[in-house]
Symmetry: C2
Subunit: 563 residues, 2 copies
């Protein structure tokens, strides 16, 4: 497989051989290494010298379930550091189908361009008619031009307006661009380059056939059996999706509520996984609680949320969104959450960043907790690109600075997601130390049966999980299969070896992951992001109901990556 080097300045798309040194990298390790190798940490993230990378995982594109997340990376305009944000959908499948391991987008165009990728040809075409269109309208226009079987990675108006809260949407199995590489403003990087969409023009999806197909198929069969005999991946996730995490985090007392003032929400049951299931099932119609975001997924944790009349409203409804635009804003109404989600999906916004930003607007006197209608209006402001919207589109950190607010739930300027670090200390360590800034996916401890309130063992756990997640994100694997994948390491390395036709060991994977993390940390060091710390208020404000504070001191985390 090769990579495609797209130069927006020259309007060229050139296919090249993947240099040898990148062969054993994939997903996040590939995107981060490419960014670290090609981007000066001090350049303007929204300028022509940034490189936007789309990278497939080491196991992507095949019949293997939940192994084809797409990693998008660049220097982040939000954090100023290195960024990777992976997503489901079918972009990685399409890259595989085109024989590509990665797309690198460099330079900058003045106008609105689309990158066409067929099985073997790629080119940039101007499509000024897409300018500032919503995501679904963009998809309709692309489908009209290229046919109904296309897949795409697109941005909404937020990305074109270079808002650091903007993400990149990838098409799902329904052809809807709703799977977000949400975090860190990668949509703004894409927008800064004048690239509105990457469209994959194929008649139908073909699974990728690997180097040793026979061995691989056998290994995948065993892996699927493992998935289908685990209650989590076989029953709980298909039925309740990610949404049921809300009940758990609320129980632990770490559910961000009313701008991180509380850790439990009195209306939690209104916005949790069980309620979500009931609403979807009772409304019926186009809604479904069980939905695969990517082809071949046997877990199917995604969903389609219907309006009251059963017609389609939005997909997917996920835990982190429910928390950040729900409990964090004091909103206990699923239809309001769904509408905010829909708008974020349409304008091309990260729901976590938007939720935390709206929390800030309460402090600024623009919104009251629980006022869903007003929250919806504010998201529209971002979508319209009004003066107010342009402020909010900068994300929580810059919005707070704009209003002179210093209590900012963000790390490395990126909004803190749906696990309050005071109550879920392992995640706090991850937020403080991850090169990604506050990012639960970098090392989420919530699934571990431990005392989340205590700091004991959390540094070691976070470090282990950050390495494990780098492995997982480099494989292209979904967080929900990580436990199963890593339980049988021989099976995992057999899948990898038969995929690539070269021997893999677990030790190699760990080394690869650690090396890649160090690359990211070094990039950030050179970009000036040297602190491993959380905002001060977490150490001072006890979080109800357990009244816990963040009790790590700076020194404990300072050398996290230097050992």
């Amino acid at each position: 497989m090769d990579f495609l080097l797209v130069n927006m300045t020259d309007k060229t798309a050139k296919r090249m051989m993947l240099p040898k040194k990148y062969e054993k990298l994939g997903g996040r390790s590939l995107s981060s290494t490419l960014v670290a190798d090609r981007v000066d940490p001090l350049i303007d993230a929204l300028g022509p010298l940034n490189t936007l990378v789309f990278a497939t995982g080491l196991l992507s594109g095949t019949i293997g379930s939940s192994l084809s997340r797409i990693s998008v990376g660049a220097k982040s305009p939000l954090t100023g550091g290195i960024k990777e944000a992976n997503a489901g959908g079918d972009t990685a499948f399409r890259l595989n189908q085109a024989g590509l391991r990665a797309i690198l987008v460099e330079g900058m165009a003045e106008d609105t361009y689309v990158l066409e990728i067929g099985l073997s040809g790629s080119k940039l075409v101007p499509m000024p008619e897409l300018k500032l269109l919503n995501v679904s309208d963009t998809m309709s226009a692309l489908r009209k031009k290229y046919g109904k079987h296309i897949s795409a990675a697109v941005i909404g108006s937020a990305g074109e307006r270079k808002m650091p809260a903007a993400g990149i949407a990838h098409t799902d199995t329904d052809g809807r661009a709703t799977r977000y590489s949400a975090r860190g403003g990668l949509g703004a990087v894409m927008g800064s380059k004048g690239l509105k969409a990457i469209v994959f023009i194929f008649d139908r999806l073909r699974f990728w056939e690997v180097s040793d197909q026979e061995t691989y198929k056998k290994a995948v069969k065993k892996y699927h059996n493992n998935l289908l005999s685990d209650p989590g991946t076989a029953e709980r996730r298909p039925k309740y999706g990610t949404a049921v995490t809300l009940e758990l985090v609320n129980e632990v007392g770490g559910l961000p509520t009313r701008n991180f003032r509380e850790g439990q929400f009195e209306k939690a049951e209104n916005i949790g996984g069980y309620r979500l299931y009931d609403i979807i099932v009772s409304r019926g119609g186009e809604g479904t609680p069980t939905h695969a975001c990517m082809p071949g997924c046997v877990v199917r944790c995604s969903n389609r949320y219907p309006k009251e009349d059963g017609s389609f409203l939005v997909s997917p409804i996920e835990y982190e969104t429910n928390a950040m635009v729900g409990s964090n804003l004091g909103i206990g109404d699923f239809d309001e959450i769904a509408e905010i989600t829909r708008l974020c999906n349409e304008y091309g916004l990260d729901t976590i960043e938007v939720g935390v930003t709206l929390g800030i607007t309460v402090e600024a006197g623009l919104l009251s907790f629980g006022d869903g209608k007003k929250a919806i209006d504010l998201v529209h402001e971002i979508g319209k690109g009004s003066e107010l919207g342009k402020v909010l589109g900068q994300g929580a950190y810059y919005t707070a600075k704009h209003y002179g607010i210093e209590r900012i739930p963000a790390v490395k300027k990126q909004a803190i997601p749906a696990y309050d670090p005071r109550a879920i200390k392992g995640n706090g360590v991850t937020y403080a130390t991850s090169p990604m800034g506050a990012d639960h996916t970098a090392g989420n401890t919530i699934g571990h049966n431990i005392d989340h309130l205590s700091k004991e063992g959390k540094i070691e756990l976070s470090k282990k999980l950050q390495v494990y997640n780098m492995i997982n994100d480099s494989l292209g694997a979904c967080a929900f299969v990580q436990g199963i994948l890593f339980k049988d390491k021989d099976l995992l390395t057999e899948m990898l070896s038969s995929y690539q036709g070269r021997e893999w060991s677990w030790e190699e994977l760990k080394e690869m992951a650690y090396r890649s993390l160090v690359k990211e940390v070094r990039f950030n060091d050179e970009a000036g992001l040297i602190e491993n710390d959380l905002p001060e208020f977490f150490s001072k404000e006890p979080l109800p109901p357990h009244n816990v504070v963040w009790d790590f001191d700076k020194e404990e985390l300072a050398d996290f990556w230097s050992e």
Copy 2:
């Protein structure tokens, strides 16, 4: 880079990872290994179980001069053994541009299909309107449909009629499909599958960028300097092309003349390289003696032959054609040779096979030596697919059998090319022993300053050259750069290593070549082609003017490959 598996029965084109074991193979070694691995040696070469392979060389697609010949392989319907026939043109560049190392065509369609490789994906489309069109009309129709910048590999009516004399034509730098994978009936294999053309739909050619582009560029620069400071590649070939070989072979007394009855032709100077140059230059217009068949070639041994009024007639005029449809038929008129060449190019025929077949028709009383007009008529019969034409399209061996003639200048049923084995004994050893049958390109000794009439040392020389040619054909390199390439082996392995991003040694190349030859020989053994011998008449009929005979006995060559 990947391969594309095309199934004509299912009408699918599926992109896959190149299995690890093929990574260090290219061109002939890749096509032959794929054929040997996938095709049962006993199947019908014109049935659905044959696999037609298009493979790029290990150095293909780049700025490096003369390194992008395309290897086409399959089980041959002519010899019944394994076949590889490589050609210039730009097919290999287009495969590289598409990120493909190889295309494999399997199965069989009833109708006339085109394989599109381009922006709209890689897919098979029915194009019944192309049925039985000449090559240039096929190109016009494809260009009308797909635009003027396409490249293509196409067959003429001979291929569609499954004639074992049919080749596959590749577009040159003028966009004309005139570069032939001529030998062994690969055009018939393509025709049997219902595949009229592979069309590459790209706006413009992009050179392939290799793994370590910087090192590669430096090495290529040195290699180009070597080419440009050698009188052969810098002066003689650009000016006179391959045609000037005729004077040399005539001098040696090995020029097939009047159906291999004589070794010198009294009108040799009328059909040699110097005369060709004079005709082209004096007519001017669209003619040119110096022409690159593939992008970036600095040797430019090809030509365009004009009509008397200077308008384009045919490209290219080559030594082997001039000999086999010239001296071998007693024809001493370049315009007649050019017209026969043009017709073979249009109908999609191997000029060597046609020349030897027409020599047989003289014995059968259908033609007189020197009667160019009648020879032209007979080629038209093949093109029309008349009853007579269908016989002649089977090639020299079957035509002779049809007329009860047992003096057949063919080895493994493939017509002997333009070097009489009695006078040029090294080539005789190659004809007798090459898995390809009578094929000068498998190990041509003519360029060596030796006593060609003597058998001494020729077994060793042929064996060495057959290994060298397998290396050359696996690199994708042209015969004319082999001497320069192999003189500086460190430079060659540096080019290879920087291309692939893995270390290469000359010893590895030799081992790869020998292993690939053994694969071919074993395929033939299993197909029943076990003899290493020439037709008996070469041992009995002394060849004027030197009155030499073929003086190897069977035993001397029996164990050629088993040591």
